[in-house]
Symmetry: C6
Subunit: 84 residues, 6 copies
């Protein structure tokens, strides 16, 4: 594994579901970065999966799985943390 920060901010807690969703996408990408450290190769692969129906759906499946964990960590944001 290459030395990359695997979780931005090193926490699963976010203020809102939307930020939780962004975090799900971010942590999935960092696994790609740790597995394929060459930025040019990653860019090429990214164009492949953004234009292929099956791969795009695979991306959705990963985000859904990561998000399940983040949502549980945040108690599903049933009580909002962004209010005074």
């Amino acid at each position: 594994m290459h030395n990359v920060d695997l979780i931005p901010g090193d926490s699963l807690l976010t203020k809102t579901p939307d930020e939780g969703r962004q975090l799900a996408i971010a942590i999935a990408r960092r696994v790609v970065k740790a597995t394929q450290p060459d930025a040019a190769t990653r860019e090429r692969l990214r164009e492949v999966y953004a234009g292929d129906a099956a791969l795009l759906l695979q991306v959705c499946q990963i985000v859904a799985t990561e998000f399940a964990t983040i949502a549980a960590a945040n108690g599903y944001w049933r009580t909002r943390h962004d209010e005074p």
Copy 2:
């Protein structure tokens, strides 16, 4: 990631299971949008997976995974929220 609202209404809470299911479909689509920002390409890919048995089943798998999270967030709607 492109700047799109990833969760409509920024909440996982819905009044009914049916609305939870709609939300599951909606949040999956927004991952597609964030990954492939070009609307014409998305439209082309959508026709691909709507007419292909394997891809259509992949869509079902994603919705099932997203829905599991939304259902847990809503306590499985054991107590209905839409009654007076």
Copy 3:
């Protein structure tokens, strides 16, 4: 998404595990219907996946995932609801 009822009866609660299993199959099918609204195309795809080992297994995986949610919603039917 096309306007279909996504959950029959708009509830995850069923009397028995068997009915929960039927519901799992039913809600998966409605995602297919929402994604591919043309009945003739759906019928053609259905024949494809009913005769293909890999696709048939993909159907099983989806049903297993949907059923996990429905079973949790029903407290795994540890106490039966169909007794007087």
Copy 4:
């Protein structure tokens, strides 16, 4: 969906983990039966997936997913039910 019993005994509760595992395999098979009612076709497909590495692994994935639900239903058999 064809009219088959989807869960033998209509219960997720089993005496032992081993019986839970058997149930996981049984309920997965009944989804195959409900989706492909023709016994001869099922037999042909079964030979296909028993001799193909990828499909055999797909079977394992399904059983793992079904078993997760059954294990949760049984409180993971932490207390054995088969003792007097």
Copy 5:
């Protein structure tokens, strides 16, 4: 299904996470054995998936899924059972 012991020791409880991991691998293999009872065929398929990147990753996915259940059964080994 062929008559094989599906869970060694007929219990999901293990002393350590490492033993839990071994159990995850073991119970996945017994599904292969139950589905494909011919030892020679299994050996041939095993060489296929040990030398193919996609199939090897599929094995990892199965083990991850089985392990999730075993880890939950053991309360994630937060309190170690192997101390006096």
Copy 6:
């Protein structure tokens, strides 16, 4: 299965989410090692999946699944353990 340590430190508990993520990657790799003991073959397969979009996404899916278990084991790191 070949005799490898399947979990480094034989524990699912980590100080931070980032270390939990590293553990998720590490335990997935050890399944590869247990299934394919030949280091040269593993190195060749690793180059295959690091350069292939579909396989790279499969790696992400595995890590997401392993991480779900590790995160649950650590109570999602809601209370940080690295403070005095």
